[in-house]
Symmetry: C2
Subunit: 198 residues, 2 copies
């Protein structure tokens, strides 16, 4: 691999990432990307066949699952509660480093119709295999047994804290001060005061 060439490609991906996140896929032109990367329009095509290729590379590079997964192996916790708490904090930490990352996820869903989700899942699931057993080991402390359900409800937890928080910022409810830990408590123990589950 030519060092110079690889570097330019990385600069292009970073430039495209920022612009896609700010203006969406169709709202970002190849000329915008070229300019942000200090390149002439034609220069892009030395590194990518077309616009969709760039977006695909952005998704596979910056998707939160890809970025956060390696860190999961380091998460500790003696109980299920502590473990889930730490994972939630880790993910939010990662998202707050690059808040635009969630925009990419939504753009992929809507404008690109989820085209890359399959490839993304195939890339991630094998790596997640080291993680699943640790979750299963805590299964006797958890109400639900399905790891997929844990994953999905966890996504809801992140959404309820981070995304709705951003949405509220533009509304009269902007002074809401609910913290991440309060949402985690709700996630762990439910909204009902007394557990009356079967």
């Amino acid at each position: 691999m030519d060092q110079e060439l690889t570097n330019t490609k990385e600069i292009l991906i970073e430039a495209a990432y920022m612009l896609f996140a700010e203006q969406g896929y169709h709202g970002t032109s190849m000329r915008h990307i070229a300019k942000r990367a200090n390149l002439a329009l034609g220069g892009i095509y030395n590194h990518f066949d077309n616009k969709e290729e760039i977006f695909k590379e952005v998704v596979l590079t910056y998707h939160p699952f890809v970025v956060a997964l390696p860190q999961f192996t380091a998460v500790e916790g003696s109980s299920a509660a502590e473990f889930l708490r730490n994972v939630a904090h880790l993910i939010i930490q990662e998202i707050e480093k690059r808040p635009e990352i969630l925009n990419i996820v939504f753009i992929e869903m809507v404008e690109l119709k989820g085209q890359h989700l399959n490839e993304l899942a195939e890339q991630i699931l094998p790596k997640a295999e080291g993680f699943a057993p640790r979750l299963l080991a805590l299964t006797d402390q958890l109400r639900s047994v399905s790891p997929v359900m844990i994953l999905r409800s966890f996504a809801g937890l992140i959404f309820s804290y981070f995304v709705t928080g951003k949405m509220l910022a533009n509304t009269p409810l902007a002074n809401d001060t609910t913290t991440l830990d309060e949402f985690i408590d709700l996630y762990l123990h439910g909204v009902l005061k007394e557990s009356t589950a079967p």
Copy 2:
């Protein structure tokens, strides 16, 4: 109001709604919208000043909060659990009637940078005043007191069931069969088997 004119405007909004949801804001042209509404391009401008006006009207017409809110007054439930259960089912029912509606929400967030959230909130919050007391009346059965937090975590519940469900459809995890009621149970009682909350 001229009946013919009002009707054409409604047809335009419906056409724009579908196209925006399918291809995003910048991916949809005024010509596409005109064609779908059986109108010449210039005819659009008898009803809307520009493209952004159309999108704004789409959001204010079809946003799930606008559509679902009137129905909330009819929701029954003798306990907090039953009440929340019924609300969740109502919302999912509404979304399944028009699944594209969530795309509009995400497009507004990303491509339009949440411009209309404030106007939306101002339109909705007064109408929600009849709803808040009913929630507060159940407050002694709930762990958290803040209605805003209930609202936000509820959005997470919808996300964890509906949106992640759609995302999973494109992946190897497509055979997951978790039902809405299972997510609601998790929401009501938490992921932990035993409630060990303070």
